[in-house]
Symmetry: C2
Subunit: 363 residues, 2 copies
């Protein structure tokens, strides 16, 4: 999408032979790019969250593996590079998937041809992600178009966390339909949940919407219920980290509360996600293990001081404990529909299998 009118992706190859990324740890206050020229550069970028978001982590790892092979493309080097990259974010499913995809392409090539083939495959991974997100956008756009028709006023969409292009290579998942609607001239306005504890809404979602020119307003996570009571939300669109075969949606903590409020106020609630996040082996969201992260993310907040420095301030008494569980599960009964690259379906086994009939055989 665009930043001040210039089209961007989150990762792209440059003439020097390196790949360039947006340093997301500096957002929303500074737009800085960083060139990754070596395996070590790529590993560091993932580990320090210069890049984040499952699809972008996968793409960066794929390029990282390619870069590792520029001087030495031996089997031993492939093994070593994959090990280093995997260790950067051990729970990121896309990372392992992307590495396996690149390795399967180069395994049987002679070493002299491996670097270029790996680099090309990393590019294909990026292009495929863009195409997948674009398809999610096309299907989600129809939902927004229908909402826009009766009222002719702006369509107010609430989103939680960041499921935008900064988490992917381009477009995003939850935000893809919004960008498409905006670009198509449909007047959209986004309520952006700040999304404590890590504030990905206030920092990343607000930044990328603003940079592309999409009208939006940042709100605390507490406000969405009141806005729905007042009729100021036409629909909710969120992303998903993992969705079960029965349509239970695991996403950033707090999503469930917004889904409850949507249900209570007859506001349609959608999850937008690529097929890779559907866990066909799981029925109930109750079986999803929820990641517990550092309490420091709750007890402290990072922002910019009046002097312009990025600083962390403590907001909880030193003697108080804090608990930081990163996700919650929204039961399928609260989800109006699931938007994937293949279309929109009801949140449930039948709906998902209608979109992915190939899963019936294995079910």
């Amino acid at each position: 999408m665009k930043i001040s009118g210039v089209p961007y992706r989150t990762i792209w190859p440059v003439e020097s032979g390196a790949v360039r990324v947006i340093d997301q740890s500096r957002l929303p206050f500074e737009l800085v790019t960083l060139d990754l020229a070596t395996l070590e550069d790529a590993a560091r970028a993932i580990k320090t969250m210069v890049v984040r978001g499952a699809p972008l982590i996968g793409a960066t790892a794929a390029y990282g593996l390619a870069l590792a092979l520029r001087a030495d493309a031996s089997d031993r080097r492939i093994e070593e590079a994959a090990r280093i990259l995997l260790a950067t974010r051990p729970t990121a499913v896309n990372l392992a998937w992307a590495l396996a995809r690149v390795r399967s392409v180069i395994a049987h090539l002679e070493p002299g041809r491996r670097f270029q083939a790996a680099f090309r495959e990393a590019g294909k991974i990026c292009d495929a992600d863009v195409e997948q997100c674009r398809s999610i956008g096309v299907h989600g756009l129809e939902i927004i178009r229908r909402l826009a028709k009766p009222s002719r006023r702006r369509v107010n969409i609430l989103t939680h966390c960041n499921a935008g292009w900064l988490a992917c290579v381009d477009w995003g998942t939850a935000l893809a339909p919004i960008y498409m609607a905006h670009d198509a001239g449909i007047p959209v306005h986004v309520w952006v949940d700040e999304t404590r504890p890590r504030n990905q809404g206030a920092s990343l979602t607000a930044y990328e919407l603003g940079a592309h020119g999409v009208p939006h307003t940042v709100i605390v996570d507490n406000l969405g219920g009141l806005l729905m009571q007042r009729g100021e939300v036409d629909c909710v669109i969120v992303g998903s980290d993992r969705t079960t075969a029965c349509g239970d949606v695991c996403n950033k903590v707090g999503t469930y509360l917004k889904a409850l409020a949507a249900k209570d106020n007859d506001v349609p609630f959608y999850a937008a996600l690529p097929v890779s996040t559907i866990d066909w082996s799981l029925d109930s969201g109750r079986d999803i293990e929820i990641e517990e992260r550092s309490a420091a993310e709750v007890t402290s907040v990072i922002g910019r001081t009046a002097a312009g420095e990025v600083a962390s301030v403590r907001v909880v008494p030193e003697a108080s404990a804090a608990l930081n569980l990163a996700f919650d599960v929204t039961p399928a009964r609260l989800v109006t529909g699931i938007i994937t690259e293949r279309g929109v379906c009801a949140a449930g086994r039948e709906g998902l299998l209608d979109l992915y009939p190939e899963q019936r055989r294995s079910a």
Copy 2:
């Protein structure tokens, strides 16, 4: 309640003739008291939120009016002092009520007797508030006692914002039952919503619970739903800024989301409040006007830096708008019961009128 074993109120007269308050703008990081010796001191304390919370604002205003009369207790001076105090927080109902109460006591006294009578009346206002909160605690304690019986494990109570003794003179409203249960040896543990945007939970509720020795854990406002799904919340107790004659509860924004989650998970949800916050003239909570406050409370967070300084950091891009509505309304259908100084009743007209039969005549 206690701070490190020492019993405190939020406001009390000292030998010098002044009244002493806890400077709440320095909490949770420093316990500092401040002496109010003049009308100007009291007005400044209210205006700068050295004191906050409706009952405490009322008590401070009452003392402020008394202090104003020490040297000059003329009718003109009374008028002037009341005007200055009313202007400090124009929307605080308790402030006007407390000033009217003191004025009605001194109006017909000769000026020479007014100062002492006003000072005495301010003390009575404080004592009455303490007694009222204590009664709320006694009735709420029975709810916690019943929850403690079957499990014999700790009772987990979730609260939102600060409805503790720091907002009152002592005990608090929502926290009074919790202090009583703790002091009675019932093992309680409190989930403290940080309560964005002003973080009164993370700062004040966590501080006062910790100071009194009540086990508690600070959580982001997004987490309560997951905790209820997991069975880790036995009940919710919140305060209320205004409750309608039909039992709709207006409280700090985000309360409604917690009530929805409580309903969805069969967790009892209580509002604890003194009769003064019941608005008998209003039926539906939809008619309550919601205060819009400065967007800066959303775009910035105040906390303590590593260097020990209290600082404000910006967490939202400069170009992004923010909206800050301070309250929401929880419909009576989501409220299990209302705890007042007279007992516990169902959230509805009949329940409230059973506790306050004198309102039937006027209804």
